[in-house]
């Protein structure tokens, strides 16, 4: 497939090269349309958010009030921190102007006067790259007052985070941007009604926004025919773990997961180029660490899109595909993932703050072969009591991997219970002291 988000054009990150390849023409086109026509185009394209929730982007934009005496804001979410996810960084590096142009078109459609691009603090190298692109776009009159001679004016500011996974949650992102601790907010009210400083706000993922100029360029009809009809468009898949060629691949939605791992010679794509040593696959995590783990023998025929993965008992998430070969210690994997959620829990909600720590503590017992059979159900009980009982989805994100691991790999836990008859002394350190 022709690459649309990350085309193979040298120096595309430079403004003159981007312009020479049709760059900012879609902004020009949008400014000649009515704002609601732009939104309608995006709505009809069926573009769905690429940040994990797959929410229809055009529909989200319509939630913004048309007439408001308050300023309106667009936040572009570049806090990408979910283990297995490393795609937005590729847009920052290779095609930042596509995202900037998309942000400007989105701002025009929603009547937004200020765009904030929130990027995780660790990506300072990429923040500098994007800032250069933003400065160049300002200098050329694509951002600022009376853009391209129109009545439309908007600013584009980059806001650097400082290390907190939770700030990728949209309401936590807004609190962080306001100079608060990154605590998620209770919803409703939703951001379109009460967002940044109580004003109407829309939050979209970096990759979602980068798709917007493509829709205007191709027209909604052609765009909606790329990939899976219910979840169309190009999607950036990050493949990591046990493959020969890990990396970010742009594919149409609906590609077979086995093709992503092994390649598909009939279309000339090699993608991950198979598993090192031709080993079998024990398990995959299809869409970033929070999505449900799948057995390697259950991935045949499953496609990378919202419907395909839902039917297979997982979700597309951020399309961060983690591959694990037959020799992988899955107890170590789930313990490490759980440690991450324990570390990143913001601490507002008791089930998540305490529950993630309890899960980690129990999993440590399995890792050290100090667990009992009852610990499997205890672990599941804790996960079940986190899920759905917290302000934001981090609690669910911590529970799902554990629940799915027990459901699909119970034998791995059973193999790791204490070998002795319960008389062995536990060595696992108390969780509170084990971390920080």
């Amino acid at each position: 497939m022709e690459k649309l988000i990350l085309p193979n054009i040298p120096d595309l990150h430079k403004l003159d090269v981007y312009e020479a390849n049709g760059g900012y023409q879609m902004l020009r086109k949008a400014l000649g349309m009515k704002p609601e026509e732009v939104t309608d185009e995006v709505k009809k394209s069926n573009l769905r958010g690429r940040g994990g929730a797959c929410f229809p982007t055009g529909l989200k934009w319509t939630f913004m009030p048309k007439n408001s005496d308050k300023p309106k804001y667009l936040c572009i979410n570049g806090d990408e921190s979910e283990p297995g996810t490393f795609k937005d960084r590729q847009i920052f590096e290779d095609n930042p102007h596509l995202m900037i142009e998309g942000g400007l078109i989105a701002a025009y459609a929603m009547g937004v006067q200020t765009i904030y691009l929130y990027i995780r603090g660790e990506y300072n190298k990429w923040i500098k790259m994007v800032q250069r692109a933003v400065d160049d776009a300002y200098a050329k009159g694509y951002i600022g007052k009376n853009i391209l001679g129109s009545n439309f004016s908007t600013n584009f500011y980059i806001h650097r985070g400082a290390g907190a996974y939770i700030c990728g949650e949209e309401s936590a992102l807004m609190n962080s941007l306001e100079g608060e601790r990154g605590y998620p907010r209770v919803k409703p009210p939703f951001p379109a009604q009460f967002g940044l400083w109580g004003c109407p706000t829309t939050i979209n993922n970096v990759e979602t926004i980068a798709n917007v100029p493509l829709i205007l360029r191709m027209g909604w009809e052609a765009y909606s025919k790329i990939g899976h009809p219910k979840h169309p468009g190009p999607i950036l898949v990050g493949i990591s773990g046990h493959v020969n060629a890990p990396g970010v691949y742009e594919v149409p939605t609906g590609v077979l997961i086995t093709d992503l791992i092994y390649g598909n010679p009939s279309i000339g794509e090699k993608y991950g180029r198979g598993v090192p040593g031709n080993k079998k696959i024990k398990a995959i995590i299809p869409g970033g660490s929070s999505t449900m783990i799948m057995r390697g023998d259950a991935i045949e025929g499953v496609t990378m899109d919202a419907d395909g993965l839902k039917a297979a008992g997982s979700s597309v998430g951020t399309a961060g595909l983690i591959v694990m070969d037959e020799d992988t210690d899955l107890i170590r994997v789930i313990t490490r993932i759980t440690k991450f959620y324990y570390h990143e829990s913001c601490g507002q909600c008791t089930p998540c703050r305490e529950g993630t720590g309890w899960m980690f503590k129990i999993l440590k017992r399995f890792e050290n072969r100090e667990a009992t059979m009852e610990d499997i159900d205890l672990l599941l009980d804790v996960a079940n009591n986190i899920e759905g009982n917290t302000i934001c989805a981090l609690g669910d994100a911590a529970a799902w991997p554990v629940q799915s691991m027990i459901k699909r790999f119970r034998d791995e836990f059973e193999k790791r219970v204490m070998k002795s008859n319960g008389t062995a002394k536990r060595k696992s350190p108390d969780i509170v002291h084990a971390l920080r």
Partner: protein
């Protein structure tokens, strides 16, 4: 105290927001860049710049993991050990670094040259194992590459 240049930058950043408070992260970054870590003195100073009570700045500094609340070595080496890096043997990289530097995770070398810490996912899963030092990402690591990196970081 921040440099004149940074103070000017802070005034410019304040124009990006309806009130000065959102500039707190940027101001703390500048303090850390100039001083290496964020002392209570630094928090009080930043609080004055962005019109926040000092205890709220303390709340910010303790929330975000990238702010150093005690001095660190000249080079802070952060090794990702999360799942994708773990699958590609990040523990070997950790062990090698601990042996080479003769410190454990979280410690600083006696000559103050290196601080070694464990990091959560840094968004380089396809180029694992990896470490970050300053703004730079060092990816697709093996032991020889780690040795080269260490010798370059004076």
């Amino acid at each position: 105290m921040l440099s004149e240049q940074n103070l000017k930058k802070i005034e410019e950043l304040k124009t990006h927001y309806p009130n000065p408070r959102p500039v707190v992260l940027a101001a703390l970054w500048m303090w850390q860049d100039e001083h290496g870590w964020i002392s209570e003195e630094g928090m009080k100073y930043v609080a004055g710049l962005v019109n926040m009570p000092p205890h709220e700045v303390y709340g910010i500094v303790t929330f975000y993991t990238m702010f150093n609340r005690k001095p660190v070595g000249r080079h802070k080496i952060e090794v990702c050990t999360n799942v994708s890096c773990m699958l590609r043997n990040s523990d070997k990289i950790v062990k090698h670094l601990e042996n080479r530097l003769n410190v454990k995770m979280g410690e600083t070398t006696p000559d103050n040259r290196f601080t070694l810490v464990e990091a959560e996912c840094l968004g380089a899963c396809g180029y694992a194992p990896m470490l970050q030092c300053g703004d730079e990402y060092y990816e697709n690591l093996d032991e020889a590459k780690v040795d080269r990196i260490l010798s370059e970081l004076k």
